[in-house]
């Protein structure tokens, strides 16, 4: 983040489709070598932003530079320096894995003498070298995604964009995709820019921007975001919940409620509070649990809703629209 030349820098970026403002003026920078994540529900404007950064869409306003090139005036400069993995597969199923990658190398003008070696390395990295002669149509969803990651890396991009790289994959494949992404960072001099609507995945990013309804609501490291929520969640089981809630309010000034059948409340530094709780509550406690705030809590505290609720309310209107525009 202290790097002098940011991999991505965005100023007042806007995109509207007629009446609908999909991205409503955002500013941020991504440092070289960073893993940067866009987190938000479907329809928040993440894909639209990525499409603008990848030169696939013209911004309605504002400016953006990727790998030192302007996304409108120096499209080719941007394109040479980025790798892309889209939400939907963009492989040719009637070609073999290797043919897909070779086609990519030709389109990007990768020097002929370097193609063979590079091809082998990226395919080995995603564990598909043995399957290079197979038709892509015979691949599973996870294999296709891995192949797309390998292809996105083939021309040694400075910035790799991953739009929902794990959507629609089973948990095991998701975790293996993540291990590739992190391994990649240790091997190559590359910046990784991704979008996700999975909270647990956002944790792997060095910094995350939470996006909702076309705006960046907050941008920080996952730790700092969680710390900003400030409170750990403490849940206790008692014999008399009503008495326990009254005692909490009376002795500690804490508002507690019953959630999931347990008395639940938030306090800063939960572990340090527990000894005091036992000593001073004056009610028998049968069990206690302390949980650190999750990104779910963060999302909740900034947007006032959980990501799932945000999705279900926006899904019908915005997603259909986004799909229409993404054609």
């Amino acid at each position: 983040m202290s790097s002098p030349a940011p991999a991505v820098s965005v100023n007042g970026l806007l995109k509207s489709f007629g009446e609908v403002e999909a991205v409503r003026g955002i500013d941020f920078e991504v440092g070289a070598g960073e893993i940067f994540g866009f987190l938000g529900p479907n329809g928040a404007g993440k894909s639209t932003t990525i499409n603008m950064l990848c030169t696939l869409m013209r911004p309605s306003g504002g400016s953006a530079r990727v790998a030192g090139h302007d996304v409108v005036r120096e499209r080719d400069g941007v394109r040479r320096n980025i790798g892309l993995v889209f939400q939907d597969t963009t492989l040719d199923g009637y070609l073999t894995a290797e043919q897909n990658l070779r086609l990519h190398a030709e389109l990007y003008g990768v020097p002929r003498e370097a193609v063979g070696e590079r091809l082998r390395q990226v395919m080995e990295m995603v564990g598909l070298w043995q399957r290079r002669k197979s038709l892509v149509n015979t691949f599973s969803g996870g294999m296709k995604r891995r192949l797309e990651i390998a292809r996105g890396l083939l021309h040694s991009p400075r910035v790799l964009f991953l739009d929902e790289p794990t959507v629609g994959l089973d948990p095991q494949t998701r975790s293996s995709i993540w291990s590739y992404i992190r391994e990649l960072k240790s091997r190559e001099d590359i910046t990784i820019f991704l979008t996700t609507h999975y909270m647990d995945e956002a944790e792997y990013c060095e910094r995350i921007a939470i996006m909702d309804q076309g705006l960046i609501i907050v941008l920080d490291t996952p730790e700092a975001l969680k710390a900003s929520v400030g409170k750990d969640r403490v849940q206790i089981q008692t014999d008399d919940d009503a008495a326990a809630i009254a005692a909490l309010s009376e002795r500690f000034g804490i508002e507690a409620t019953v959630a999931e059948g347990e008395v639940t409340f938030g306090v800063p530094e939960g572990e340090h509070f527990v000894p005091r709780l036992f000593a001073e509550l004056g009610q028998p406690i049968r069990s206690v649990s302390v949980a650190r705030p999750s990104l779910d809590d963060v999302f909740m505290s900034y947007t006032g809703t959980t990501i799932r609720d945000a999705e279900s309310s926006q899904l019908d209107t915005r997603r259909n629209f986004a799909r229409m525009m993404n054609r």
Binding site: C54, T55, L56, M57, R58, D76, R79, R80, N81, L84, F86, D88, T89, T90, L91, D92, G93, Y94, L95, Q99, R102, L103, H104, E106, L107, Y108, G109, V110, P111, A114, V115, E117, R118, Q121, V122, M125, L153, L154, H155, S156, P171, Q172, R174, S175, W178, S179, R182, E183, L184, K185, S186, R187, E188, D189, D200, E203, Y204, P222, E223, R327
Partner: protein
């Protein structure tokens, strides 16, 4: 998720997978040049050929129609038409038209793959590449033309079966003309495909364009002595200018009566002027070029 810590280090995960931690050699993507554009054209062209060679079923099915026209319809109708053909085999007469049909349908299907590419997302992979859109369109058109010309060559091999002699000059001329047609039709298809995102609509539209074009072209009848409305439509139809020179070439190599020649190979006329083969070929080439340019403009504009 199998990973429970919030900041796992990359090294441990690589080790856990047992993967080698060697450095990957970086490559540099050169800036745009004529050479990189040529590579792009070539690889898009090559992809068409690979896909075509994989799709044996398509090779077979697109030969079906010409076979039916040539051997079933041709043989059946020749009994009816024998009085009017002055002793010339009807199949010899329709052969140029059938060849054009084989080429047209293959070229159309090649262009259609662009619509699939869009539907299946592959088009995006090409559109974000650091090359000119014109290179992509050119590669696609050359690819489609090559595939269609290949299909034409298969029909060309059948020439002897329907009384068309295997004269080297004739074969070469027909081949050149069908390459031209293949290119023009692919360019037409690509131009249409640039604006259409659904396969059904594309196919319906192509049917609407191809069938009238085929029937009006004189592929199945001589173009002289037609009612005026049909004569006008025939002269407007671009395919006329591919079928006619081919037929002219075939008839130049046949040993037949002058009456048969006049009846079956009258040649296309513009206000009484007999249009020479080269002009006809130029019409096809020019139309193909115009459609290619439109297709390029459309793809260059697309985001």
């Amino acid at each position: 998720m199998a990973i429970e810590t919030s900041t796992p280090s990359a090294e441990t995960s690589a080790a856990a997978r047992g993967g080698p931690a060697h450095q990957i050699a970086g490559v540099r993507v050169p800036t745009r040049s004529l050479r990189s554009e040529l590579r792009a054209i070539k690889v898009v062209w090559k992809r068409e050929l690979i896909r075509f060679s994989r799709d044996r079923l398509r090779i077979l099915t697109s030969l079906m129609q010409p076979f039916l026209f040539l051997f079933v319809l041709g043989t059946g109708l020749s009994r009816l038409a024998s009085a009017g053909t002055h002793g010339v085999d009807l199949r010899t007469f329709v052969y140029p038209g059938v060849l054009c049909m084989a080429v047209m349908f293959t070229a159309m299907f090649s262009a259609a793959s662009l619509v699939w590419d869009r539907e299946f997302g592959f088009l995006r992979e090409m559109m974000v590449a650091p090359v000119r859109r014109s290179s992509l369109v050119l590669g696609k058109c050359f690819g489609g033309a090559t595939v269609a010309a290949f299909q034409g060559v298969i029909v060309l091999c059948l020439a002897g079966l329907v009384g068309v002699p295997y004269a080297p000059g004739l074969i070469l001329e027909i081949f050149a003309l069908q390459v031209l047609l293949a290119f023009a039709i692919t360019a037409f298809g690509v131009m249409v495909a640039a604006r259409i995102s659904q396969m059904q609509s594309f196919m319906a539209l192509m049917q609407m364009a191809i069938m009238p074009m085929y029937f009006l072209s004189g592929a199945l009848f001589p173009v002289s002595g037609l009612p005026q409305w049909l004569s006008i439509l025939n002269r407007i139809d671009p395919l006329t200018y591919a079928v006619d020179p081919m037929r002219r070439a075939v008839f130049a190599h046949l040993d037949i009566s002058a009456a048969a020649r006049r009846a079956l190979d009258p040649g296309v006329t513009w206000w009484g002027w007999h249009v020479p083969t080269l002009v006809e070929a130029a019409v096809v080439a020019l139309l193909g070029l115009v459609m290619l340019l439109i297709a390029i403009a459309q793809f260059s504009r697309a985001e």
